[in-house]
């Protein structure tokens, strides 16, 4: 069972990374306009720039 001594902390660390990523995305305003984000992904203005 000694394998648990490092497997469990690793699992927790991974979860914690997810939590930190979520808090960061929240802080940077990515949840302020959810409907808009769904539409912006369809815009192809990035292609215009390349052409």
């Amino acid at each position: 069972m000694s394998v648990l001594a490092y497997l469990v902390p690793i699992a927790l660390l991974l979860g914690l990374t997810g939590l930190v990523a979520f808090l960061w995305s929240l802080r940077s305003g990515q949840y302020d306009d959810i409907e808009g984000a769904a539409l912006r992904v369809l815009q192809d203005d990035d292609i215009d720039q390349g052409a």
Binding site: V8, L23, D33, Q43
Partner: protein
Amino acid sequence: MPEPLDLSIFVRRDGGISHLDLAVEGIGCAGCIRKIEGGLKHIPGIVDARVNFTNRRLAVDWHDGALKAGDVISALERIGYRSHPFAPERAETDEARHARRLLQCLAVAGFAAMNIMLLSVPVWSGAAADMTPETRDFFHWLSALIALPAAAYAGQPFFRSALTALRRRRLNMDVPISLGVLLALAMSLLETARHAEHAYFDSAVMLLFFLLCGRYLDHAMRRKTRAVAGNLAAMKGELAHRFADGGELVAVPVAALTPGDRLLVRPGERVPADGTVISGASELDDSLVTGETARRPVAAGDGVYAGSVNYFGALTMRVSAAGTGTLIDEVERLLAKAVTARSRHLRLADRAAQLYAPMVHATAALTAIGWLIAGASLHDAIITAIAVLIVTCPCALALAIPAVQVVGSGALFRAGVILNAGDAIERLGEVDTVVLDKTGTLTLPEPQLANAADLDPDMIQKAARLALSSRHPLAAALARAAARERVPYSDALEEPGLGVRAPIDGVEARLGSLAFCGIAAPPDGLCELEPATTLIAFAHGDRHALFALRQTLRPDAVAITKALAERGFGLRILSGDRPQAVAPIAARLGIAQWQAALDPAHKIAAIEALKAAGHRVLMVGDGLNDAPALAAAHVSLSPIAAAHITQAHADAVFLGDALAPVLRALLIGGRARWLMRQNLWLAVVYNALAVPVAIAGFITPLLAAIAMSGSSLLVTLNALRARGRGEEGAAVAAREDAVTPSLHSAVTVP
């Protein structure tokens, strides 16, 4: 030449960058985002333009001095969007911050709950198999490591609110929640230190997670309605014409006015603020202020109130400090009294908490004492008592009401009713008497063409198009009611006080007073239909037409009042207008109990009398004179066209020309309240089952977890039923009146 527009109060400056928030009409698709942002970013000086599609808003930043706020608005107009500047309300920004904070807590609680569960499940299933006590302890300590900081962070919304309540020597639902969480954590920590078999870290954190879900949803719903209300307010935002120091006119938003400003009020405009007339003479339509439909002549020295419509001459007025007019004084004084009286209303949730908390805590204490008497050790007795506290899980109880509130306010929102107060929904459910104001509530706020059926459609069209050139409020009403082509005739000339004339097809046409159009006397019968009718004449060559304009009932008023009466609501009309104007309306609606010529104090007295007779009153009103009555009533609604103060004191605002939202609000409220009570009973039944098991000492962490999530799910699912039948009222209304659906498109509700 248009006068300059000064919008500087909406612009916020920060480090060389100016920032402006706008509510934009007509954003409906992805293309709009690109058109607006792309179009604005091309303008030199603009740093950033960002559309918030969810709120239908736009935030623009530019270098100080490069542009003016008006330039942004006209640029948007060129792209094809009408926009309205606004300063975000303090309450709205506070709520946004609070919602973000709740979401952070929710994330932390969710993370902790998942990981603790990951550690708890092996303990539960491993207890039967070959898990060593050392491994179990290791898992328990890890759980403690996660649970303690997580609860310290995510539990704050509950701990704070519980502390505030306790400091005021009151109990709310957060008190038993906080106590349960803290005790569960403390006991688990002790048990872990003693190498015991059971720890309740998962229960404590899961409890927080479920409750935060409920809180966040509740908050999100309220924030959404507030955003729509903010946009509506911005779209209503009116301009005032202020004399600058040099004597020239500058258009400023009404919010920027200060006492002492001199304003010009042109014919056809609304008086933008309270004040006194300095020069000029005119007639004012005070119907939004007092409910009186007959016009009031004013001259220099007379007091005027925000919301009145100026009919004839241009007025110069001076803005006075808020609350110096006699009527405003009276209204403010009555309001202050009514508002303090209302705050005594106790929410259903708090009433439940006041019953629940002492009972649970007494049960836990009795359990401990009982076990001690029965000979158990002090440790076992306390553990069992705490298990009782955990399992009587305030979870279901604390979700029972907010869950219904979220679903119910969503249903109201779709019905075109925007809630101001969170607990209005349960108060709507208690109503048995509906008190209606007449002017602007039962009737439409603007005068309507009453005799369209008797007239030649071609003449109506011509007259309506000609009316577009006039600023007179009645002409505006005629134009709104009938003009299909919104292009005014060229060479139209307005003769103040008389009417407007223009050549149509080479023949002169005139619209205005009877004398102006060469008509000697009105034919009999047209004026006698109703007292508040005004006639406008139209002459084109030798053809004549007479238009009767008056306050008309909302299109579905008859159907809705009938439906209300059928459902057993008592109906009353309390109006500030003359009895002659109220009587025919009451007769048409079949409302026997009506009172007319009431001032604000009398309206309150009438409502207090109803309350004293044991009735729960819904007051629907729009005028400034209704504001105290709205605050005094058990719950109140006002149409979106209502005066500012009135809207602020109504519990909810409804949109559109139809009266149907009133019926729907009552139906949805009734159903929501029924579901809330049902949910509370479900929670009681759950507790009745779980508490004996806990008292007997059979509760394990596994059982606690199952019971807790099971009961929470049950009440949440039950709450979802609040959305279903609210639509039934909509169907009733829609059958009887096809006008209703249009109201949403006006607001671009997502």
